[in-house]
């Protein structure tokens, strides 16, 4: 237990990382404009953990209590040891889930995954230009997804489709729903873009209006009525349009642990943007230390770090003050309330972002796609003006 604020105790010690997300590589054949990977990912593509090191991560995380394993990236299929990792995961008792764009999934590989005991595959529809357009206009990529979707179903997996929603496709929500049905999806997640990493830089271009979101939700509800229980559709409303923040990762260092391609251990996807925190790496003191004792994981556990208005807020148990990364990226203060909260003194930043996204000049700015060249540009400082509003990245 840590110090108690306003009588509410926060448990700090006895947390278990129920979810382990292995961001196994940052290499990716796609270049999504709303990728939440770090904008400086290029520097993490050189020193990926070895198969043996991943095996140790799996074992150690399991000892800490991890049960759900997500294998993602980048595109995880760019590594050729996923088969071995899946076998080990099964042996250890994980419920394992492969999160892939489908690029690189072959009959041979999926068969090996099935035999190895992979429990679940999630197919993502990510790319904003080509892929979504193709998807909507029913051409090449749709054919690929259709092939992959069929493979997934033939091997007895549920077909789980995840589509990231943004201004460029929100108007096509009906087509997306129909396509998902045509692909035989059992589950469809319509995930509105969250603004981190690449998507934050491209926010003015990507953010839909409140009206568009309401409309999309309405269309989704009508579709739900029509398909009934055949397909479960989840519509994740973006937090910018609500007046309370999300309980990010269910609390810092509470249930979620990410190990990145190069072995960094993080409490959430974008934590590396936070200043003055050194995140542990599995190559140093191991996973156990990282989760239980590292200063990084203890930094925002519980609520003793909070400032006003969160510290004395009667609702603080509900959202724990929101997302630390979002607070920092937008306000420059990682310990302040998430600006999404209408009680936050920084809430006008969100209101301005929503206004800016309606501004045709800002909307028309070129999108900075996630690719190696652009990542290098950001690292070298060449793309400075694009990120000046955000307290992100070097």
């Amino acid at each position: 237990m840590v110090t108690q604020n306003n009588g509410v105790a926060a448990s700090v010690t006895h947390t278990q990382p129920l979810w382990l997300l292995a961001e196994i590589t940052y290499r990716c054949p796609l270049h999504c404009a709303f990728c939440y990977n770090p904008t400086d990912y290029d520097k993490h593509t050189q020193n990926e953990l070895s198969t043996e090191q991943w095996m140790n991560v799996l074992r150690d995380a399991r000892k800490l209590g991890a049960l759900q394993l997500g294998i993602s990236g980048g595109e995880p299929l760019l590594r050729d040891d996923i088969e071995e990792i899946v076998v080990e995961a099964k042996k250890l008792g994980y419920y394992s889930n492969l999160i892939t764009s489908g690029v690189g999934l072959t009959e041979k590989r999926i068969q090996a995954f099935k035999e190895g005991g992979l429990d679940h595959i999630q197919l993502s529809m990510h790319d904003i230009t080509e892929e979504i357009n193709n998807f909507i206009t029913n051409t090449k990529t749709f054919e690929l997804k259709k092939k992959v979707a069929a493979m997934i179903k033939n091997h007895g997996y549920p077909m789980v489709l995840n589509v990231v929603i943004h201004r460029y496709n929100i108007g096509h929500i009906k087509e997306i729903l129909d396509m998902a049905e045509a692909l035989g999806a059992d589950y469809l997640e319509l995930a509105n873009t969250q603004y981190y990493g690449w998507s934050l830089i491209n926010r003015n271009q990507l953010m839909p209006t409140k009206e568009q979101i309401d409309h999309a939700e309405k269309v989704t509800n009508e579709f739900r009525e029509k398909v009934g229980s055949k397909m479960k559709v989840f519509f994740v409303v973006p937090d910018y349009f609500s007046d309370r923040p999300k309980k990010c990762m269910n609390g810092w260092g509470e249930v979620f642990m990410i190990v990145t391609a190069n072995g960094d251990v993080l409490p959430c996807h974008s934590a590396r943007v936070l200043p003055n925190i050194e995140f542990p790496n599995v190559r140093d003191k191991g996973l156990m230390w990282a989760w239980q004792d590292s200063p990084a994981f203890n930094r925002y556990r519980g609520d003793s770090w909070m400032k006003e208005p969160c510290r004395t807020c009667p609702e603080k148990e509900k959202d724990l003050g929101g997302c630390r990364c979002q607070a920092f990226l937008l306000s420059g203060d990682a310990e302040s309330a998430d600006p999404v909260c209408s009680l936050s003194p920084n809430h006008p930043i969100i209101e301005k972002a929503i206004e800016d996204a309606k501004n045709p000049t800002l909307q028309a700015q070129p999108i900075l796609f996630r690719n190696d060249k652009n990542s290098k540009k950001i690292l070298s400082g060449e793309a400075k003006d694009l990120i000046k509003d955000f307290h992100a990245v070097p």
């Binding site: 278990q16 129920l18 000892k63 800490l64 209590g65 049960l67 759900q68 008792g93 419920y95 889930n97 429990d119 679940h120 999630q122 007895g156 997996y157 549920p158 789980v160 589950y187």
Partner: protein, 92 residues
């Protein structure tokens, strides 16, 4: 759905039921998450294996927990609950 004594259930596909050492409890795992089961739910679902009928499950548990009152009602409502949650599937 009313649970009949002749019904046979199995753990639903895409779900996994297992004992968790770290949690000291049985859990059900599925794509979107997991559920930690309390002791009695764990006992019941341990017997849901695609072979045992509800009748057998009731008899087995009655033998194991002789002095528990209303056991049968509890077991039936647990099975119904698990079925409503789609953790288990009827196979006959």
């Amino acid at each position: 759905m009313t649970i009949l004594h002749t019904d046979i259930f199995k753990i639903a596909s895409h779900h996994r039921f297992q004992w968790e050492e770290a949690q000291q409890s049985h859990v059900i795992l599925f794509p979107e998450g997991m559920v930690k089961l309390n002791g009695s739910a764990g006992e019941v679902l341990s017997l849901v294996d695609g072979k045992n009928s509800v009748d057998i499950i009731v008899t087995t548990l009655k033998q194991k927990f002789k002095d528990v009152k209303d056991l049968e009602t509890d077991i039936l409502s647990m099975i119904k609950f698990a079925h409503d949650k789609a953790w288990i599937e009827k196979i006959n």
